[in-house]
């Protein structure tokens, strides 16, 4: 009985897009930035076509160390700096405003015939806000160098002496 529901599809997609950034357990909430003990979450895209993601452990002169998690297990890997095409980091979990997309858009129902104008405005505006909020605590290789990236590692001083990659959990 109900077909061609373009607005509903847009609404669901927008809500999904707005809330698709899952929080990372070791990242602080925005109020706690500066009190965290772990490194930032980093996503790396390499020239060799690989993609790594995990906690940034250290940035050295020729490579950086990332701790990847697989369920309850994790391991560290080295990624040569020369092979890194781009990276992005997240240093805190963004606020989730995904709830606002369906709430505001469906709230337009109370606007009667004006709904044709207010529903798209609410849909677009809340989606923009939710997506922006989910990315608010992110930076990428377009705005920072490897030197600046060091500050967001668990060990900004570099990998401490006597600590090997397989010791890091």
């Amino acid at each position: 009985m109900i077909k061609n529901n373009t607005l509903w599809a847009a609404l669901i997609l927008a809500a999904l897009a707005a809330s698709c950034v899952a929080p990372v357990s070791y990242l602080p909430e925005q109020e706690m930035i500066g009190e965290e003990s772990y490194g930032s979450y980093i996503e790396i895209s390499t020239y060799s076509g690989k993609i790594y993601a995990g906690e940034l452990i250290a940035v050295g002169d020729s490579a950086l160390v990332v701790r990847e998690e697989f369920g309850s297990r994790s391991h560290c890997l080295l990624s040569p700096l020369t092979d890194i095409k781009s990276f992005s980091i997240r240093y805190a979990n963004g606020k989730n405003y995904g709830w606002a997309v369906p709430l505001y858009t469906l709230g337009s129902i109370s606007h009667g015939l004006f709904l044709v104008f207010t529903a798209p405005i609410n849909l677009i505006a809340t989606t923009v806000i939710a997506v922006e909020a989910s990315q608010a605590y992110e930076m990428d290789s377009r705005v920072m160098t490897f030197e600046e990236l060091k500050l967001f590692a668990r060990f900004p001083q570099g990998l401490p002496e006597g600590i090997t990659l397989d010791m890091i959990k």
Partner: protein
């Protein structure tokens, strides 16, 4: 109009993007020497939290009470110490040898990082609420048109008991209308009916009366589309009602405001659908189909669209229409295309559907309760009785369908109002009159009139019907003027079949959320009554 909306949405989005996408840079600093740290932080009003990254991989996170003992080269403060795997090693007062520190790290506190987003959402919510309140207090400005009548205490516009002369949008289209009030047993000789103008319209009401038909226990009185009254036995619901979506008999067996409706065809607003009803064999000499129905928002949308196409020439168009009142049938093209709820009876002897007539009432608010007598007797029907409805997709909301045995015709007692009281929303009645419409009542937005009628016999029960006569003038909205498109208006009037195909996509955008969610979700309908907010 579309350009304005696109521009408005674009500007709003741009503003939101600008205000909400601020990134934070340079809030984190590192120092390899304690002196540099002291130099940078000595003039700060509040000390930042300090992280000391030790050479062995440990980290000490100190709250804002830390200090550096430059004589003994110690860092002292309250905080936590973690090992290289970030297991907590120590809590409380920490004393750290400065030589063991690889890097000091400070973070400038981010001030109100969510402030802009919360502000943007708050502004948006504020505007939404203002518009919602406006729509709740002026529901018909947002949702519909024509005078509404209320018999009971529920004064929700979407469940009004009757709508008067919905098609009469100009003096030349003035008409009268009879609507069943579907009342419970009468217990009081005095019947009060409220008439409201809840729209941005001027209502010219020339007559309001009650048609009261005495009824006995177990009887119902129904009126036909031709305004004849029939005394009937209690109607029987259908065994099955097969529509495109399956058997919808459960939706139709009670007049409970749980309605069966469909959505419009996305390619053609005038495409039709069928509902096949099946009833137990009935040995009835005379019978008819009883229906409780109203329209979706489709006709409201089309009427408002027509006004929009007229733009700033609406006055001229209406003046021309009044001058050529005899040609008003030109306006009926859309009505003809949309058509009635056509009723067909299956003739068991000839194996053919035989048309019995149709139902049509404009308006999305009040339910219309009507009877269509069948043209032939059912006394020789041995099998299940089959009835077919052919109706426009997405135009009708049907609450109740049943087969009623007709006892015979009935006569109505016509009762004029004894008293008419006038008041505004939230006010006590200010004026009274009972001059029985020597002059028309001019009802402006927000006006309420209470009509008191006296039933002829206080011991009798009556089925009540409302008779209203008049017309209304829709107020032009400034937003409609911008939608002026005389070409589209011409297509709407001259080639309605083509227009209804062209307009389908635009209507679907409106209908998808409006129809399904507004009407069909479990939203508390009382929110739309402006009395309920008090």
């Amino acid at each position: 109009m579309k350009k304005t909306i696109i521009l408005g949405v674009s500007l709003l989005c741009l503003a939101l993007i600008v205000t909400t996408c601020a990134r934070h840079y340079g809030f984190r600093k590192d120092y390899s020497r304690a002196n540099a740290l002291l130099h940078d932080t000595e003039n700060l009003a509040a000390k930042p939290f300090l992280k000391a990254h030790l050479k062995n991989g440990d980290i000490c996170i100190l709250r804002d009470t830390w200090r550096v003992d430059t004589v003994y080269q110690f860092l002292v403060g309250e905080g936590d110490r973690y090992d290289f795997n970030r297991n907590n090693k120590q809590q409380g007062r920490l004393t750290i040898d400065i030589d063991s520190v690889a890097i000091f790290e400070t973070n400038q506190k981010l001030v109100g990082p969510e402030k802009e987003r919360i502000a943007a959402l708050s502004i948006l919510a504020g505007l939404d609420i203002i518009l919602a309140i406006y729509c709740q207090t002026n529901p018909k400005a947002c949702f519909g048109s024509c005078p509404t009548f209320y018999l009971g205490s529920d004064e929700n516009v979407f469940y009004s008991d009757a709508e008067g002369f919905s098609n009469s949008i100009a003096p030349s289209l003035e008409t009268s209308d009879i609507d069943a009030l579907n009342n419970d047993r009468i217990v009081n000789r005095k019947i009060s009916l409220k008439m409201k103008n809840e729209a941005m319209e001027t209502h010219v009401v020339k007559d309001v009366r009650i048609y009261a038909v005495p009824r006995k226990e177990g009887e119902r009185i129904f009126h036909t589309p031709q305004n004849e009254f029939f005394r009937c036995r209690q109607p029987l619901p259908p065994k099955s009602a097969l529509a495109g979506e399956g058997d919808c008999a459960a939706l139709l067996e009670n007049a409970d405001k749980v309605e069966r409706f469909s959505l419009a065809d996305p390619k053609n607003l005038s495409s039709k659908e069928e509902i096949i009803l099946s009833f137990d064999p009935a040995d009835l000499n005379q019978a008819g189909l009883v229906i409780s129905f109203r329209q979706t928002m489709m006709t409201t949308y089309l009427i408002y669209s027509a006004f929009g196409y007229m733009g700033d020439e609406m006055g001229s168009v209406f003046a021309e229409m009044e001058k050529r009142a005899g040609q008003k049938k030109d306006l009926g093209g859309i009505r003809r295309e949309l058509g009635d709820i056509e009723v067909y009876l299956w003739d068991q002897r000839t194996d053919k559907w035989v048309k019995q007539g149709g139902f049509y009432e404009t308006g999305p608010s009040a339910f219309n309760h009507q009877l269509l007598p069948f043209n032939k007797s059912l006394s020789d029907f041995k099998e299940d009785l089959k009835v077919k409805l052919v109706l426009n997709r997405g135009l009708w909301r049907i609450d109740y369908l049943a087969l009623a045995g007709i006892i015979g015709p009935a006569e109505a007692v016509i009762i004029p109002p004894e008293k008419i009281e006038y008041f505004k929303t939230g006010q006590e009645p200010a004026l009274s009159s009972a001059d029985n419409f020597s002059r028309p009542i001019i009802s402006m937005p927000g006006d309420i009139r209470r009509f008191d009628f006296m039933m002829p016999d206080d011991s009798a029960d009556y089925e009540l019907f409302l008779y209203s006569q008049g017309y209304y003038l829709e107020w032009m909205r400034s937003s409609w003027i911008k939608e002026k498109d005389l070409g589209k208006l011409a297509r709407m009037l001259m080639v309605p079949k083509m227009y209804l195909k062209e307009e389908a996509a635009d209507y679907k955008r409106y209908e998808t959320v409006m129809e399904r969610e507004f009407w069909n979700t479990k939203i508390d309908h009382r929110m739309f009554s402006y009395y309920d907010k008090k």
